[in-house]
């Protein structure tokens, strides 16, 4: 094992098709037009010395180290800023260049500390490398005089020296080591798009400044780590590297946070993770990262992690640690007893979108083949199930149509019900980059998300709709496109069913769907809708990106269909730069859906009633499968309350915190006789569990995740599971205890079984993934290298289907008692229910959930910034602190759901999507009033949590 080495070509690749041939140091090389001499040299295997250049950012030409001589040209131009020309003859090493470089390095080193041996970058320092490369042997200027290095010069305070900034929990900024190459500033601007850094002052005074001479933590910095990655010295260094030292080997793996699915190098020393560095060849992230994937992995070694299996008879008892064997045999006998006593349908399971495809496949296999029923569901139920249903209906596949690279070709972006800069930050950065290049932006969101206006990005249209009126606004957009003749008739005639289009066009053309008519209840001014519709229809390549603000509504599936209609009617499908792109919440939501986690579907979205599909699996597994769909999560809970559903195996999901109407969930769980929770931590659901099986992190297992662009990425094991077994092994051993003859030695064998049984994965294998890096399904005979863009020559289902989208207002309405609408979302530093990120330093940025409320609404209620307030709905109430902001419109309040003591889902109702039961998280009628402490529910719940987390023989962990 060794470090995965990445070449730095110095400047970004040119996209030109035209080729140019030149000679560098006697070697002929052909490169695309527009390539820099530096990059061309690197491709020819010649490393020109450099400091300020790196291929993540544009050339800058400030370090004066990469100079070259070109025959027939005067002077010594910088190779990073000079593009290649045909027939050019370049020399990268001449007597003159050697002298210049040595002179430049002497100047750099004369104002740099000489503490290489004790420096954190020792062994990974480009300044050190360059000093070696140019043969620097002496610094004639000495180290006295003016400098930024020493706190005192001859006993006098040195005003130019600045102490280390250690305010960021993950990295330090040591100005004394800075060579002002401005790579960090440019990475922050070009890669991340936050513009949090600048060079202040000029000449010898210049230095890097976060914000306006602020600490990193107080500045606009979002801690994505791009600057740290770009820094050639120890100026910006991960605190983990300072504490541990340089890594000695690394593996490429996939981040386990959001659905972007960034590729990272996990850099290791032994079994200790030193740092996570984004991998430049990662096709989803292209070498970029966010604060979660890059830094927030500390939960893997957090003290709260449970490492031994535990059992208890009643949920009021303390936990008892047991051996794995005892745990498995206990679960097996309990499940068998329950099935004997209450019938085959009385148990079920939930697969996890956080686990690998292989693990998810095994859990649903255990349920279908072992439990003998189809009572399997997954957390996608509560997020993107409407996407699966809606896109399946319209196009024939339950997935996004594009890859992330597609955004580089987009001219008009519609972002609806998503907040990419917080929820999908790496995609957010790629989107912002495109917007800075001039693409237009339409944001449809009740809240003024960052993208609406953030440095160098401003939405052309922000449609601030009332929560719950998505369908009305989208149909109004379609109304404008159809009635103003902006549709793409050629595309529709070729690709879609014309008579269905005519029917749909007639429907949307009705006056009731005009922007003027819908304005009354959507709250969006008609002229904004008209302008946005014209822009999307006629502005070039139009792409729609959407998130849970679309799906988590009673009309979630209808909204997805309305989005599909918009894309079809404007011909925005089947090529780069367009499409319908669901931004998936979790790392493997797409994968969990693909792997047959839904009660009605076998892997590959094939209905359980389909005889041929069932036959495939029956032969493979040697069992008879039930042809009736099983219970969905809400149905399981209903059945539990009724007394017919008694046992559940929950892998890697905290349904108590993440599912709607917490009281109903807890009642369901409390009514069961054997709740098995398989997780890293004693999560909230585990308060109601009888058996706890410790889980393993993504660092501790092999497998694959499938991201939002259908990309199958490898997850590679870099350390042994602290709990003893990877999650797939736990499921396998449980299956064995239940009498199933499973014998997988490695997850690759599970993938082979998936490939054999599921046509869209036919060519996928670990060997193939190792060779290709990653592939996007479908990957089979017809698409051997995978499918970056779908529906290129026609829709999977044949003709694209236009579906009428009648707006039906949700039953959840505001009234005198509950006059405000609550909508929920995510924040950058935290992830989902926070089980992981709350156990990292990310709490520095977001230590508690806050309620965002408009100044008018706050004033009416006498609420001031930071006050404790009570948030009540028809379902329940909770307390949290207020954040007064005009990001939300009057009448709308907003909060996140990352912290269990807030329990925002105590508030949310049990209304759900008509087609898929996806809960209506995004609309709840509430009242807000001043408060002075936790509600009764919160106190009771705190007490319950404390009691249910006791482990016999161990001191209670202090919170």
């Amino acid at each position: 094992m060794s470090l995965v080495h990445e070449l730095d070509y110095g400047t970004p690749a040119s996209r030109s098709e035209a080729q140019v041939t030149l000679t560098i140091d006697g070697r002929a090389i052909t490169v695309p037009e527009g390539t820099s001499i530096m990059r061309a040299s690197m491709e020819a295997g010649i490393k020109v010395p450099k400091l300020c250049a790196t291929d993540m950012v544009d050339a800058f030409g400030s370090c004066r180290l990469c100079l070259v001589e070109i025959e027939g040209r005067n002077g010594t131009p910088a190779s990073c800023t000079t593009p290649v020309m045909p027939g050019m003859v370049v020399h990268t090493q001449t007597g003159r260049l050697k002298d210049i470089r040595k002179g430049v390095m002497e100047l750099y080193i004369s104002d740099h500390p000489l503490d290489c041996l004790t420096c954190a970058a020792n062994g990974d320092c480009e300044l050190q490398d360059m000093a070696g490369a140019v043969g620097l042997r002496d610094v004639r200027y000495g180290y006295e005089g003016d400098n930024h290095v020493k706190a005192r010069n001859d006993g006098v305070i040195n005003a130019k020296w600045m102490p280390k900034d250690e305010s960021n929990p993950y990295f330090t900024y040591d100005p004394s080591k800075c060579i002002v190459c401005s790579r960090c500033v440019r990475a922050c601007e070009e890669v991340q798009g936050t513009f949090a850094l600048t060079i202040e002052g000029r000449g010898f005074e210049s230095r890097v400044s976060p914000g306006a001479h602020e600490h990193f933590l107080d500045s606009e910095c979002v801690s994505c780590g791009a600057c740290v990655q770009a820094c050639p010295t120890a100026t910006l260094t991960e605190k983990s590297v300072i504490a541990i030292g340089q890594p000695e080997h690394s593996e490429v793996t996939t981040c386990a946070y959001c659905g972007v699915g960034c590729s990272f190098k996990a850099e290791m020393r032994g079994e200790e993770l030193v740092r996570m560095v984004p991998w430049k060849d990662g096709q989803a992230n292209r070498g970029h990262s966010c604060v979660k994937g890059r830094f927030a992995y500390g939960y893997a070694t957090h003290k709260d992690r449970i490492l031994n299996p535990m059992i208890r008879e009643n949920i009021s008892d303390p936990w008892r640690e047991v051996t794995w064997e005892e745990a498995f045999s206990h679960v097996a006998s309990e499940f068998r007893r329950i099935q004997y006593q209450y019938g085959r349908e009385s148990i079920g399971g939930i697969t996890s979108s956080r686990c690998t495809n292989e693990e998810t496949f095994l859990v649903q296999k255990l349920i279908r083949a072992g439990f003998g029923n189809n009572n399997v569901d997954t957390c996608a139920r509560v997020c993107h199930s409407p996407t699966g249903y809606g896109l399946g209906q319209a196009f024939g596949t339950s997935a996004g149509t594009q890859n992330f690279d597609s955004v580089e070709h987009t001219d008009v972006v519609i972002v609806i019900g998503a907040n990419p800069t917080d929820g999908h930050p790496v995609f957010g950065s790629r989107l912002k980059k495109r917007l800075r290049q001039g693409a237009k932006l339409i944001v449809i969101d009740p809240r003024r998300i960052d993208l609406v206006r953030t440095p160098h990005v401003e939405a052309d249209y922000h449609l601030p709709l009332q929560p719950g009126t998505n369908v009305a606004v989208l149909t109004a957009l379609a109304h404008v496109i159809v009635t103003e003749g902006l549709f793409d008739e050629k595309f529709i005639r070729e690709r879609c069913d014309w008579s269905e289009f005519e029917d749909w066009a007639g429907f949307v053309s009705e006056n009731a769907h005009s922007p003027e008519a819908t304005e009354k209840y959507t709250g969006v001014p008609a002229d904004l809708v008209r302008g946005a519709a014209r822009l999307y229809a006629k502005g070039g390549n139009g792409a729609i990106y959407y998130g849970l603000g679309v799906t988590e509504h009673s009309q979630g599936s209808t909204t997805v269909m309305a989005i599909a209609n918009l894309a079809m009617v404007t011909g925005n499908l089947g090529r780069p730069g367009v499409g319908v792109n669901p931004l998936r919440g979790q790392n493997n939501v797409q994968g969990a859906c693909d792997m047959g986690s839904f009660p009605h579907e076998l892997p590959g979205y094939r209905h359980i009633s389909d005889d041929a599909t069932r036959d495939t699996f029956e032969k493979l597994w040697g069992v008879t499968l039930n042809n009736e769909p099983g219970l969905r999560i809400p149905n399981m809970l209903d059945a539990a309350v009724e007394g017919t559903f008694k046992g559940i195996y929950i892998q890697g999901e905290d349904i108590l915190q993440s599912d709607p109407d917490t009281k109903h969930v807890s009642a369901g769980l409390a009514a069961m006789e054997c709740v098995v929770v398989h997780d890293l931590f004693l999560n909230e659901t585990a308060n109601y569990a009888h058996v706890f099986l410790p889980g393993s992190t993504f660092l501790e297992k092999d497998g694959t995740f499938t991201n939002a662009e259908r990309r199958i990425n490898r997850v590679r094991k870099v350390m042994s599971p602290k709990n003893g077994y990877a999650d797939w092994e736990v499921t396998q051993k449980l299956a064995q205890a239940m009498g199933l003859a499973w014998n997988y030695a490695h997850p690759s064998q599970i993938m082979d079984e998936i490939a054999v049984s599921t046509p869209s994965f036919a060519l996928v294998s670990y060997d193939y993934l190792d060779k290709m890096g990653s592939v996007q399904w479908p990957c089979n005979e017809a698409h051997p290298v995978g499918s970056p863009i779908m529906h290129v020559d026609g829709f999977v289902r044949g003709k694209g289907k236009f579906i009428r989208t009648e707006y039906v207002a949700t039953d959840e309405r505001t009234g005198p008692r509950f006059p405000l609408l609550l909508t929920t979302g995510r924040i950058l530093s935290q992830y989902n229910v926070g089980a992981q990120t709350r156990r990292t330093e990310n709490v520095t940025w977001h230590a508690e959930d806050r309620l965002e409320i408009h100044p008018h609404d706050a004033e009416q209620r006498g609420i001031k910034e930071g006050d404790w307030i009570k948030l009540a709905s028809r379902s329940g109430d909770t307390t949290l602190r207020a954040l007064i902001t005009d990001r939300v419109a009057p009448g709308v309040v907003y909060t996140t759901f990352h912290h269990p003591n807030t329990q925002a889902n105590v508030i949310t109702t049990d209304f759900s999507d008509w087609a898929t039961n996806c809960p209506e998280y995004k609309v709840t009628a509430v009242q807000v009033s001043p408060s002075n402490g936790p509600t009764e529910w919160q106190s009771d719940y705190d007490e319950l949590s404390r009691r249910s987390r006791r482990i016999a023989g161990k001191l209670e962990a202090a919170e």
């Binding site: 600048t198 202040e200 002052g201 306006a212 602020e214």
Partner: protein
């Protein structure tokens, strides 16, 4: 110009200036000049206002303000005397003039006399090399400055 003003008024007057000028191409420098003309310096509190009006980050505004020595972070004296110290003026004896100025005013460069009447600044080229050594008093240029001329200027300023 140098009177204390409240934070609210500062923001309001800055916003007025920014909104008058933000339509210009590359509006940041004209805005900063106008702000300095209004307040005598570029107050720290104005940077985020400019940033938000121009949809830039605080860092970017800070970077520009600190790059130009022209923009001050605190008010100057009632008069500003700038002496050119670039090559042409140096060759014509500007160092001697500079020493004399320091002596007459009793302050060094970038300092203000105790009575707040004069701030002494160095500049690097006023574009008046043909008439070196050159100086600038409150925006008005003087050529061929000798010690006598300097004494007159200083006497005029201190009055």
């Amino acid at each position: 110009m140098n009177m204390r003003i409240s934070a609210g008024e500062l923001t309001e007057r800055s916003l007025q200036i920014i909104r008058d000028l933000k339509h210009l191409e590359g509006p940041m420098l004209p805005i900063l000049h106008a702000i300095q003309a209004e307040f005598g310096y570029v107050p720290e509190e104005v940077k985020p206002v400019i940033a938000s009006e121009l949809n830039l980050s605080r860092a970017e505004v800070h970077g520009v303000v600190t790059f130009y020595h022209e923009f001050r972070d605190h008010p100057a004296g009632r008069h500003v005397l700038k002496l050119c110290r670039a090559e042409a003026c140096q060759s014509m004896g500007s160092d001697r003039i500079a020493d004399r100025a320091r002596q007459l005013l009793g302050i060094d460069f970038h300092q203000t006399t105790l009575d707040g009447s004069v701030t002494l600044e160095a500049v690097y080229c006023l574009g008046l090399c043909a008439c070196a050594p050159a100086a600038m008093v409150d925006g008005e240029v003087y050529g061929r400055v000798d010690e006598h001329c300097l004494s007159e200027i200083v006497a005029g300023l201190s009055r």
